[in-house]
């Protein structure tokens, strides 16, 4: 239905373009602080790069990114900026998308799927969880505890077939784990104690901060290779064993301290597609505080300029130009004339892109890895009794496939309990990052063998490649004003290779920084971020940088 209603005003305090998680958090907090916010998204759906899409929406999205963007027009950017390829250095790009055709059954059920463009799990301690609680947006979204993390090992009993091993999620589970010798348990405990503590000042770490983590584990803690692999991939969530020790330890500490806050696993899973749903929650919060929302083509700016007073934006849904004191957007939603920012002073001018291969599959058969064994019971006895029915199988899992000399393949499974697929079905996400020099790798050829280890009966498969600017590796740049204007706040989308475990908190931090960029860090204003977080911060995690 055409809805030619115009906006209520020609001027807003802040215009936010894009409804990604960072944008939505910033918008909600600004509205809470009393700012008049206009929030636009040229997409028909919420969530931007973090969107959760229905299956048909996903297929459409995939079709629109089949081919690599040509040099002159970055496909994800709404602007045909003639001759300017400079945008592409800071935008997220997708290419080589493919998807199997939808069966009639999938077609019928298409709206019951929530496929995430940003599959991720949320550490129970960190920026996003704090922001959810402070903003009360936690009331709109529901989370569950991740059921298991497992590590694949190529050496199995049967030739050519590997084995999966659940990684114990807590101290109790480590003690119970019979596959770890007592001596190794002691070493492991010693390391975990170290990694939970204030290791920055510990002599054990001195001089070894940038040593590869695996080397540090073996040299400083005498941890044997098999155990070391579990720590590197499944506890520290590194992509390779060579990651510098200090950064890996910091993440490990956060994950370890996350255990027990809500359950026996460090991570939470957002229902209904995760990140996209969370973004919608913040948008609703913004609307509740008076923010105005326009989505779709009528919200796609035809022109954005910075002026001496702020910014001026032309959008189809309003007959006159709309002005605002500030603009917040990620580079994907800005013309290069406005978005180009100075490279952060410290970082080298040659930005390295992270290229990630992605896969999404749906199956109606429960992957074996989710099946809970009847613990300790003699399997022969279980036959007649109903014990097997009492065992609740897992609904969600993260499975890590180490690869020699290459980045780990991460697999993330969502069952019906996540609300993102019909009952009895599972969504399987796969991803791995590759060096930008290997850009010709096919995502399906690379990832399909790993999907086959999880299930042989996928009823849908989709693959794509994303390229992210490496802005966000630990020391990277955060939301900042552009060189041209102190009215335009440009967000830095997550650009690391640990999207699965780090992406959400990065986006939350971006949102918070964008808020502070506009409101200052002064006293007493009333967004979410000035709020005292009483006991939540007692564990001392909230302070990270």
């Amino acid at each position: 239905m055409s809805n030619q209603q115009e906006l209520e005003s020609d001027h807003y305090d802040v215009i936010v373009i894009g409804t990604g998680l960072a944008e939505s958090i910033a918008a909600a907090s600004l509205a809470k602080a009393g700012k008049n916010v206009l929030h636009l998204d040229p997409n028909e759906y919420y969530g931007g790069e973090q969107a959760s899409l229905t299956l048909d929406e996903y297929v459409d999205w995939s079709k629109s990114h089949e081919n690599p963007p040509s040099a002159s027009s970055s496909s994800s950017s709404p602007y045909s900026s003639p001759g300017s390829s400079s945008t592409s250095t800071s935008t997220i790009r997708y290419r080589d998308c493919s998807a199997t055709p939808l069966t009639p059954e999938l077609e019928d059920d298409r709206r019951r799927y929530a496929i995430s463009l940003f599959p991720s799990i949320l550490p129970s301690r960190g920026h996003l969880i704090d922001t959810l609680i402070k903003s009360y947006v936690s009331k709109y979204v529901s989370f569950r505890i991740l059921d298991q993390i497992a590590l694949y090992s190529a050496e199995g009993q049967v030739q050519g077939e590997g084995t999966f091993k659940r990684v114990p999620g807590s101290k109790e589970e480590i003690f119970k784990d019979k596959s770890i010798s007592l001596i190794d348990k002691r070493k492991l405990m010693k390391f975990l104690l170290f990694a939970t503590g204030e290791f920055e000042t510990d002599d054990l770490l001195k001089g070894k901060e940038s040593q590869p983590l695996s080397q540090f584990l073996s040299e400083s803690f005498s941890i044997p290779p098999s155990l070391s692999e579990s720590i590197v991939y499944a506890i520290s969530h590194c992509s390779t064993p060579d990651e510098p020790t200090l950064g890996a330890l910091k993440r490990t500490r956060r994950y370890l301290r996350s255990i027990g806050r809500y359950g026996n696993n460090a991570f939470l899973i957002g229902q209904y597609g995760g990140a996209g749903e969370v973004a919608q929650g913040f948008c609703r919060a913004c609307a509740v505080f008076g923010g105005t929302y326009v989505l779709g083509p009528s919200a796609r700016p035809t022109n954005i300029e910075s002026t001496s007073e702020g910014v001026l934006v032309n959008i189809p849904c309003h007959p006159r130009a709309v002005t605002a004191s500030h603009l917040i957007a990620s580079p994907n939603n800005l013309p290069s004339s406005v978005s180009t920012s100075d490279p952060p002073p410290s970082s080298p001018s040659t930005l390295k892109d992270y290229v990630t291969l992605h896969g999404v599959a749906i199956t109606k058969t429960m992957p074996d890895i989710l099946r809970r064994k009847t613990t300790n019971a003699d399997p022969s006895e279980a036959g007649a009794s109903d014990i097997t029915e009492e065992v609740e199988n897992d609904d969600t899992a993260v499975i890590l496939f180490p690869r020699d000399g290459q980045h780990v393949v991460k697999c993330y499974i969502n069952g019906e309990g996540t609300g993102s697929c019909p009952a009895g079905q599972y969504i399987i996400y796969l991803s791995t990052s590759i060096p930008s020099s290997h850009q010709t790798m096919s995502p399906s050829e690379t990832l399909k063998p790993y999907l086959d280890k999880i299930t042989s009966s996928a009823i849908f498969e989709g693959y794509y490649i994303s390229t992210r600017p490496s802005s966000s590796d630990s020391s990277g740049s955060i939301a900042q004003y552009t060189a041209q204007s102190d009215k335009v706040v440009v967000l830095s989308p997550y650009g690391g290779k640990e999207t699965l475990t780090e992406g959400l908190d990065w986006e939350a931090l971006q949102g918070e920084e964008a808020y502070h960029a506009i409101m200052g860090r002064g006293d007493g204003t009333k967004g979410f971020f000035e709020k005292d977080v009483s006991e939540e911060e007692e564990m001392g995690i909230g302070e990270d940088d």
């Binding site: 809805n3 929650g281 609703r284 509740v288 008076g290 609740e392 609904d395 019906e416």
Partner: protein, 262 residues
């Protein structure tokens, strides 16, 4: 008596829909607070309101979601419809276009929401039309068995005055039939053929407001939505909507509250 029987409240998410300025928020304010403000500004500030509705055999706790203005440019998020068990679609009896909008919202609900959602179509502002033709809402007689009131006590007092089927006392004399643009019969016929509950009401006087919610509460098929989680063929019982126990309440530290593992 029935009060002796301890009943636990069943929570129901109810979403409001309808064109701007038809009085969605006013209806809810009347229901929840027994209140009416002549000039309410477009909805700002409340995430959702809650109100209990007591039936003979159960207490229904409505969690009422307002559109927060996100309907204006058709940008209501899918989250809004998610798990809603009831919807109130409001139009203004003095604006025929608003009924057309309401029909569009009903379609949208049928597309986006749960299949078994209970939808009530409500013609608001009957206080503006003369009482003779407003014979309307007799459809939903206030025979309703709200021993404890459709809502909390103070609201009940308002209701006693206003909810009676007698002509609304405050209906302005000068308001004539001309003001009414949507005949009761027309909207009622549409509601009937689409399987919707139907009411004409006035948020201003409170006429029929409590009845809307009571009737919804009575119509929701509780027996099919809450009980035993349905077992999926896989033997996996973690259904998203039915098994709330697996959900984490972020607001509180719950130390490994759920069993299940090990």
């Amino acid at each position: 008596m029935s009060e002796e029987i301890p009943v636990k409240a069943v929570q129901v998410k109810l979403v409001l829909l309808g064109e701007a300025a038809v009085g969605k928020s006013s209806l809810v304010l009347r229901f929840c607070q027994g209140d009416f403000n002549e000039n309410t500004s477009p909805t700002i500030g409340a995430a959702f309101l809650t109100q209990k509705c007591r039936l003979e055999n159960r207490i229904v706790k409505f969690e009422i979601w307002d559109t927060a203005g996100q309907e204006r440019f058709h940008s209501l998020a899918p989250m809004y419809y998610r798990n809603a068990q009831a919807a109130v679609v409001v139009y203004d009896v003095t604006k025929s276009a608003s009924l057309e909008k309401a029909k569009a919202w009903v379609k949208e609900l049928q597309r986006q929401a749960n299949a078994n959602i209970v939808i009530a179509l409500v013609g608001n502002k009957v206080d503006l039309v003369s009482s003779s033709t407003a014979s309307p809402a007799e459809v939903a007689k206030p025979k309703v068995a709200e021993n404890e009131g459709g809502a909390d006590a103070e609201e009940n007092e308002d209701q006693e005055d206003d909810a009676s089927p007698s002509p609304s006392p405050s209906a302005a004399e000068e308001a004539s039939d001309d003001v009414r643009q949507v005949p009761t019969a027309e909207a009622e016929a549409y509601a009937k053929e689409s399987g919707l509950l139907f009411f004409e009401a006035s948020a201003k006087t409170g006429h029929n407001v409590g009845e809307i919610f009571t009737e919804i509460a009575k119509t929701i098929p509780f027996d099919t939505i809450s009980p035993k989680p349905t077992t999926a063929q896989s033997g996996n019982r973690r259904s998203a909507n039915t098994n709330e126990n697996n959900n984490v309440n972020l607001g509180e530290n719950q130390q490994a509250k759920k069993g299940g593992c090990c």
